[in-house]
């Protein structure tokens, strides 16, 4: 009997060690590359907004848009409704623009700053290799200005536009003007207003009618300069009968001070078009004491304007000190489909408040939400979602499943869904469970010779699989790796 007790004691100790290993793992991507950056002094004023606009050589209408957004932003307060403890942010201590000093667009890899290439290599994103091997077009965003865009020609042949948003403003002003701010207005929320005022760069994608994008489009964001907020703005337009799969990956180097990232992603999906947007977010989450780390406050929204259009969000969130992010779908077209698949992992003192909104406006629209939260350490992980069915939307269907896995006695997992149905033909289902890894399952694995560490990894991977399967092949591998790094594949 005593022996048994010893064994359980031992197991418990092992489990604790595994947890501390996992939680103690240092951030693998924490390094700073010394590239000269052109930074304007910290602070935000109309002059700064004008300066950013002038540096980028923007037309008058865009400056007006920025100024309107800035003036509106001044009237707003940061939102406090999320289940997050956000230390007060001094918006005047942030520098709103940083650009690599090399202004000439490199013609080949040789012209790219070797330090930058090295940075990407250490991240496991060799541009050259990826270009050749995976057939991906990579638009790498180093701080605020796009430094390299690949596969442009291959895409151009099909009429696809994939470029940085500043370039798009110069070359396709009518297109940008037509769509910019149409899904996420500058009046939307505090961070959306801020982004609209000072957005630095981002990607612009336009897929013409009937075109199926032949490759996965990908952008890597990387915050590099110390003390700079990064304000990305992505705009994706999929015209009738088109298809595109867009990947967004994020890693940032280690910093002591907190950095703000307030991005906007807008997607417009026309008749019968389909957009698949995948994110792997692995920004620096702060150290074990909760120092440093990125504040990730993102507004992502897609408008399924066309009939039978489809928008699918897939996200794997492993990084950031604080995540505030709700990729949403407005299902306006008849028979439109919205999907949201998410794995959010929080460890140490990380906080995440993430989820989605599915707004059913068109008839026979369908949406699926699958959210998997994994919390460890002292972290807080929340799912916040809304499913709204408009009075006029007949025959809508929603299925929501959000599960939480708890890996330590000190972490928190929360679920805050809101379901608002105003049409009697709608069928809306919501299901949520919260539990720790079942001891039966671990025991079963142990019994078959699988050590606890591997058993836990197995169970966690299985748990997240439903979402991981939705990621494109190239991303799934990296996402899997990230899960392992974040939890060292061995939480218990």
């Amino acid at each position: 009997m005593k022996e048994n007790k010893d064994i359980t004691e031992k197991e418990k100790r092992e489990e604790r060690e595994i947890i501390s290993d996992a939680t103690g793992g240092e951030y693998k991507y924490g390094f700073t590359s010394d590239i000269d950056t052109d930074i304007i002094p910290p602070g935000l004023s109309e002059d700064v907004v004008r300066h950013i606009s002038a540096v980028k050589g923007e037309p008058e209408w865009l400056l007006d848009f920025r100024l309107k957004a800035y003036r509106h932003w001044l009237t707003l307060e940061p939102p406090t409704w999320a289940h997050l403890t956000i230390p007060p942010i001094d918006f005047n201590a942030i520098s709103y623009y940083a650009a690599p000093t090399k202004k000439n667009t490199p013609k080949s890899m040789d012209e790219v700053d070797p330090e930058l290439v090295n940075t990407f290599n250490r991240l496991g994103i060799p541009l050259e290799e990826q270009k050749v091997l995976s057939g991906m077009a990579v638009d790498a965003v180093m701080d605020s200005v796009s430094v390299k865009t690949t596969h442009r020609e291959a895409l151009a042949e099909r009429g696809i536009i994939f470029c940085s948003i500043s370039e798009a403003v110069r070359e396709y002003p009518d297109l940008v003007r037509k769509y910019l701010g149409k899904v996420v207005s500058y009046r939307d929320n505090f961070y959306a207003a801020l982004n609209s005022a000072v957005f630095s760069d981002g990607s612009f994608v336009y897929i013409p009618k009937g075109v199926r994008c032949p490759m996965e489009l990908s952008t890597y964001f990387r915050i590099n300069a110390s003390g700079t907020g990064q304000f990305e703005r992505t705009l994706i337009v999929a015209d009738d009968d088109s298809y595109v799969s867009y990947l967004e990956g994020c890693t940032a180097p280690m910093r002591d001070e907190n950095q703000l990232h307030a991005a906007i992603v807008e997607i417009i999906v026309e008749d019968r078009a389909e957009v698949k947007y995948s994110t792997v977010q692995n920004w620096y989450a702060g150290d074990a004491q909760g120092r440093g780390g990125i504040y990730n406050f993102v507004t992502k929204r897609g408008l399924c304007r066309g009939d039978y259009s489809k928008l699918s969000w897939t996200q794997v969130e492993t990084g950031s000190a604080i995540t505030w992010k709700y990729p949403s779908c407005i299902l306006a077209g008849e028979g439109a489909t919205g999907e949201f698949y998410s794995v959010a992992v929080t460890n140490r003192l990380q906080q995440a408040d993430t989820g989605t909104k599915m707004i059913h406006i068109g008839s026979n629209t369908r949406s699926t939400i699958v959210s998997k939260g994994i919390s460890a350490g002292h972290s807080q992980n929340s799912y916040r979602g809304m499913v709204k069915v408009d009075k006029k939307a007949e025959g809508c269907r929603n299925y929501t499943q959000c599960d939480s896995l708890l890996l330590s006695p000190t972490c928190g997992a929360h679920t805050f869904p809101v379901i608002d149905v105003a049409n009697s033909t709608a069928v809306v289902e919501h299901e949520a469970t919260t539990s720790k890894i079942s001891e039966d399952q671990i025991f079963y694995c142990n019994q078959r010779g699988i050590p606890t560490e591997e058993a836990v990894a197995l169970i966690v991977n299985g748990y997240a699989k439903e979402v991981m399967n939705k990621l494109p092949m190239e991303f799934a591998v990296e996402a899997q790796k990230l899960l392992e790094i974040t939890l060292e594949g061995s939480v218990g």
Partner: protein, 453 residues
């Protein structure tokens, strides 16, 4: 006038009157609530509870009178207000507006004590004050406490098992709009057992009535408290019902509310499970027609270990009615081996009906099993078709299926007589016939049928 402005007015009225005439036992509680009120109103003005604000404005819109002097409504209680469930041999208490009547006072079984707060023996003052204490910051709740002129104090002695259910009949009878602040304090001592049935009736269905009823329960170690509530008032009634319960070790709390007839109803359940091994079961059903609003809010906090809780709330919404459910389970750090499940099922039976659901989980402990499920939909078209193909008219088929949909909430009621009764009431409600009790006093029934004609 907004709710916040109304709150301010009630405070002014009470101040101008030099305070309300509150029972001696709860003087401190009332004073404290009154003192905290201005700040609470101010906070509410800046941040009205998000989902609630529009309804609060509607609830407080009529110009209600308040009974600050605690004037007693005299009534021949036994004769005209008896509203019993057939074969339910119960101990009867009556609340006429906000006056307390205890006709069963002479017939109480050993171990059960019931007092009006005004006549509470000195020895129980401290206990009553502790029970009545209002810790929330809700201005509406603080006003209820401020307006407390009387109430029931129910004490179940340690080890006493009260077989006979205690029935508290709430009756409204007034020719002018009235705000009644009703208070029921229940203290179930160790290993005691008690069943309480509450029902709401309106004898003057045309008069606007704000029925604010607060039930506070403390369930000591090993006690078992069952609480059932049936609301059958009038469309002119706005009801704010609050159950605040504290559960100690191995206590058992069962609550079931049925909203059959009324105007706007907001039932709030604040359950605090502090002891280990406690069991909580909350359930509710609402059948809404016309422009009725039924809103159930649950905040269930698990602090103790090895506790189990079950929640089941079902709504059927017809016509332009609105239903809302807000459920929150909080599992605090250290509440190991908690097993909590929350279920909310809703049926929309009309194109203009609306349902708002927010089932929430806040978990701060890893050794838990928590789940919630919420659905909003309609009756199965195939089942309806099947029944029609067997010669049952669609209307009747709809009724039968809705009744079946509600039946598992009703089945949660452990005592047979009431369960049968509620099945019948639900059926009657769906039939559109008067839901009032057959055995009810003539006054009550005639008034309701008059209103329907």
């Amino acid at each position: 006038m907004t709710a916040a402005e109304s709150f301010g007015q009630y405070l002014e009225i009470v101040r101008a009157h030099g305070g309300s005439k509150c029972p001696k036992a709860v003087e401190g509680v009332v004073r404290e609530a009154t003192e905290r009120l201005p700040r609470a109103i101010e906070a509410y003005r800046h941040d009205p509870e998000d989902l609630d604000s529009c309804r609060a404005d509607r609830i407080y819109a009529p110009d209600y009178a308040v009974n600050l002097d605690g004037v007693t409504m005299n009534a021949d209680v036994a004769a005209s207000f008896h509203c019993g469930v057939p074969q339910l041999n119960s101990l009867l208490c009556v609340y006429v507006n906000d006056s307390v009547h205890i006709p069963c006072a002479g017939k109480l079984p050993a171990g059960l004590e019931i007092y009006p707060l005004r006549e509470l023996p000195e020895e129980y003052h401290a206990d009553a004050a502790a029970l009545a204490k209002n810790t929330s910051d809700s201005p509406a709740g603080l006003i209820d406490t401020m307006l407390m002129t009387d109430g029931f104090y129910i004490r179940v002695a340690a080890g006493a098992v009260i077989d006979k259910p205690l029935q508290i009949v709430n009756i409204f009878n007034s020719t002018m709009p009235l705000y009644t602040s009703r208070h029921i304090l229940v203290h179930a001592l160790e290993n005691s057992q008690v069943k309480i049935l509450l029902c709401d009736h309106s004898q003057t269905p045309q008069t606007a009535h704000l029925n604010a009823e607060t039930v506070r329960v403390v369930a000591d170690n090993g006690s078992k408290v069952e609480l059932y509530d049936i609301e059958e008032s009038s469309p002119a009634t706005s009801r704010r019902w609050l159950l605040e319960a504290t559960q100690h070790d191995s206590s058992n709390l069962t609550v079931c509310t049925a909203f059959l007839r009324g105007g706007i109803t907001r039932n709030e359940y604040r359950i605090n499970v502090v002891g280990d091994g406690a069991d909580t079961s909350l359930s509710g059903l609402a059948i809404c027609t016309g422009s009725q609003i039924a809103d159930n809010r649950v905040t269930l906090v698990h602090r103790g270990r090895h506790c189990r809780s079950r929640q089941l709330f079902k709504n059927a919404m017809f016509d332009e009615s609105t239903g809302a459910f807000g459920g929150k389970i909080i599992v605090e750090e250290g509440a190991e081996a908690t097993d909590a499940v929350q279920t909310n099922r809703n049926m929309l039976a009309s194109p203009s009906a609306r349902m708002l659901t927010a089932p929430q989980l806040e978990i701060y402990c890893d050794d838990v099993k928590c789940g919630h499920g919420a659905t909003t939909g309609q009756l199965d078209e195939r089942a309806l078709f099947y029944m029609q193909s067997r010669g049952i008219p669609r209307h009747e088929a709809t009724m039968m299926l809705t009744q079946a949909f509600m039946s598992d909430v009703v089945d949660n009621i452990s005592f047979e007589v009431l369960r049968q009764r509620l099945h019948v009431l639900v059926e009657k409600r769906l039939n559109g016939t008067s839901g009032s009790c057959d055995t009810c006093a003539a006054a009550c029934r005639t008034n309701i049928s008059k209103e329907e004609q």
